[in-house]
């Protein structure tokens, strides 16, 4: 029995320290433990809280759908930040790039009148380009003038935020009487079966099929599929293409890259363009799939900042971003339910996420704890 414990600890140690996935899973577990401690100290039953969260995520088809809808933009902003990380840049600007993407999507979706199958791609492409340029701007400032991207993207976030608010107060874009823009044309709407859902036949059919009725209650859309395709694309670009080779070389060691004939400045701009485009895509999908318009924002909405956590939890791995984004989306959506059901603060979710990131920042501590344990186990 004792021997088995020892083996278990040894296995755990290898799992946590040599496999980054294992280390991430242990960090997630510890993050949940910290959240539970907070709940317990505040007098709530943590098991019940987590159970409610789990039910809130999985109990109904619509819950799963909402979780996925929540996760979609986070996967993309996570990818944006992870992509920049891989090339040695810290894109704090996903927040602003998201805003620019959603503004551009709304403008293209409202002002242009195009046939159904063309409109959505046009909307998405304009958003991606606009946000790409917005992101590329930070890359350009860094390449050309040596302005650190952290500070320029923080500034650009605020510029983007006030720019959106400015447009919302602009005639022709502002929906009269409200602090929002006009909604996009129906041809730019990417919700699944949107018109059918509201048609007579559709409603009748759904009445007899409660599973589909519940599922289609949500603004289910193609965004998640696109996000997954993007993760695959990002992975492919980074690992299998000459462009990815250049970008990673610049990210790991720009001096060696320069020496090897790679144009460091150009690749920094490309990298920030792609990062901006990914965050902008998140904004565009949010508009065409869920919100259909932009509204006045008093403060940062956090898509970009949450994306940082997603990228960190994913260890900047493209596929990891899908899982981390889903985790994050699930915690946010499911976590909100402990408030009405047991009056427990749903903000425990931020504590959990913060703790996960915190543990991820200190692999040494986790290694230390595990080695100590396995050493103790050894001497007994």
């Amino acid at each position: 029995m004792k021997l088995k414990m020892k083996e278990l600890r040894r296995a755990l140690y290898i799992f946590a320290t040599e496999k980054t996935v294992g280390f991430t899973l242990i960090s997630i577990f510890l993050g949940l433990v910290v959240g539970a401690l907070f709940l317990a100290v505040a007098g709530f039953n943590p098991f019940r809280a987590y159970w409610i969260m789990l039910q809130g995520i999985f109990a109904k088809p619509s819950y799963i759908s909402y979780t996925i809808i929540r996760a979609t933009p986070l996967i993309l902003t996570g990818l944006s930040i992870a992509f920049a990380f891989k090339t040695g840049l810290f894109n704090i600007g996903a927040e602003g790039q998201f805003i620019i993407g959603s503004v551009a999507a709304t403008a293209a979706g409202y002002f242009l009148h195009l046939p159904l199958l063309i409109h959505i791609p046009v909307v998405i492409i304009s958003a991606v380009l606009a946000a790409g340029i917005w992101g590329g701007l930070a890359g350009f400032f860094k390449a050309k003038f040596g302005v650190h991207e952290v500070i320029s993207t923080i500034m650009l976030n605020w510029v983007a935020l006030y720019f959106q608010n400015f447009l919302i107060y602009t005639k022709g874009f502002q929906k009269p009487g409200g602090e929002t823009s006009y909604s996009i044309q129906p041809t730019a709407n990417m919700m699944i079966l949107k018109t059918w859902k509201q048609s007579e036949a559709g409603r009748e059919w759904l009445l007899q099929h409660p599973f589909w009725k519940d599922l289609l209650r949500t603004p289910m859309n193609w965004g998640f599929v696109i996000a997954i395709l993007m993760a695959v694309l990002v992975w492919f670009i980074l690992n299998k293409t000459a462009l990815g080779f250049r970008l990673r070389a610049v990210g790991f060691n720009k001096f060696a890259a320069e020496y090897g004939g790679i144009n460091v400045n150009k690749n920094m701009i490309i990298s920030m363009f792609i990062a901006g485009a990914l965050a902008g895509l998140a904004g565009a999908l949010q508009v065409v799939g869920v919100s259909h318009k932009v509204t006045l924002i008093a403060a940062m909405e956090g898509y970009g900042f949450d994306g940082i956590a997603v990228a960190l939890i994913a260890n900047s791995n493209a596929m990891g971003c899908i899982l981390a984004g889903l985790l994050f989306g699930a915690l946010k959506y499911g976590g909100a339910k402990i408030q009405p059901f047991m009056q427990a603060p749903s903000e425990v979710v931020s504590i959990v996420i913060g703790s996960i990131v915190f543990f991820i920042s200190i692999p040494k501590l986790i290694k230390l704890i595990l080695t100590r344990k396995s050493k103790k186990g050894g001497t007994k």
């Binding site: 299998k240 293409t241 000459a242 462009l243 080779f245 250049r246 320069e258 020496y259 004939g261």
Partner: protein, 513 residues
Amino acid sequence: MGYENVTQSLTKIIEMKNITKKFGDFVANDSVNLDVFKGKVHALLGENGAGKSTLMNILYGLYSPTSGEILINGKKVEITNPNIAIEHGIGMVHQHFMLVKPFTVTQNIILGQEPVSKMSVLNMKKALKDVKEISERYGLYVDPNAKIEDISVGMQQRVEILKALYRGAEILILDEPTAVLTPQEIVELIQIIKNLTKEGKSIILISHKLKEIIDAADFCLIIRRGKHIDTVVVPETNEEGLASKMVGREVSFVVDKKVKVAGDEIFSIKDLVVKDNRDIVAVDKLNISIKKGEILGLAGIDGNGQTELLEAITGLRKVESGEIKINDNNITNNTPFQVINKKISHIPEDRQKRGLVLDFDISENTILENYYKNPFARKGILNYNNIRVYAKELIDKFDVRPKEESKMARTLSGGNQQKVIIAREVSNDPDLLIAAQPTRGLDVGAIEFVHKSLIDQRDNDKAVFLISFELDEIMNVSDRIAVIYEGKIVGIVDAKDAEVEKLGLMMAGGGSK
């Protein structure tokens, strides 16, 4: 006379007994013994990585020994941090200077033992006075108000020595103190050392240069791969005796090289002007040319424009004026990409900063310049199968260890990292191979390999441009030697006619043109 007899009448102030230090499984010091006597210079000789610095870091309290003990004036002491070392009168001048660059000379000297008036407020007046006092007492003149980043390397070394003296050091550890100095500065340093011993200070001199040990030291402890080899009385031995103990076999100082007649001129630089990072002219109307089948060595002290010259040739730095040509192509102000494609290869002086992407594996590093070319990539998509096959080929041919192309470059030893770079650069089949400090920090075996690679290039009728701070290397490997001083070529001589004294003088700006 023998060590025992000579030391009988001397006062022993430090005894390090059976010092062992392990880093994980790596044994850096294995039962090393060292005695230091009052007013004497004790040298510590060994190759790079032999464990000299580790031993001194233990004495200075930066590392704690795995086992062994230290006695000072006959009493056992535990030196767990530099403060305790300082209290015992031990001062250390590190190989890489421990100076805060934006601080002034005075601020650096007083740091940690600052004179203060009330409430910890700095008393700069007293600080200046104190610094002036000791600098005059030992003849170590410095400008107390100059910022470190603005003064020469030799001056910075004086600041380091002053730092130790300010703390009342009786024992001064000098770690490779001449590595960065001009021959003249070395003479001055040896004089300073003599002044200090006259005042009763003891010196521990860490070095792998035999000549300066013969010139300056009384005793010499030799360590090899962490092991205590011997302690000798320096006046009773010579360079050859020390060298064979250092490397464990008789060493020949001559590189095996056939006579070869050089071909046509292939590479030339005319009136080149390049500025450094501070926008000061670093390369000043420089002219050189290299022929096919020739190794041109560039001798000079660090900081005389070598780095800027290299960077200008390889496209990493802007050329202000002048012309660089290879094969009659003007490559002035070309990008690195263009330069590489004009068949110039480059073994960079800082292999970890420039030469390798440490977080790429070996195979990715072997294609750093060719990743986009067939067969490594087609239409922008990489073909990792072909990349691996190519990497394996190079690993075999250049004997890189371990023989695994998927190993991260970071995990390789310095010698093997250099082999990867040389494999990559030589395999590009360059017309001109530039090798900058190619053997820095390598062990003897790896150094031989590097020299052989350079000579092979030359024997294949290629041009080689060797830049090194090690005069021995330049003299042994080159066919012709150019000397650079303050960004100008101050002389070019045939290697077979070269004399150390003459080159040394030119490197210091003196001598005939």
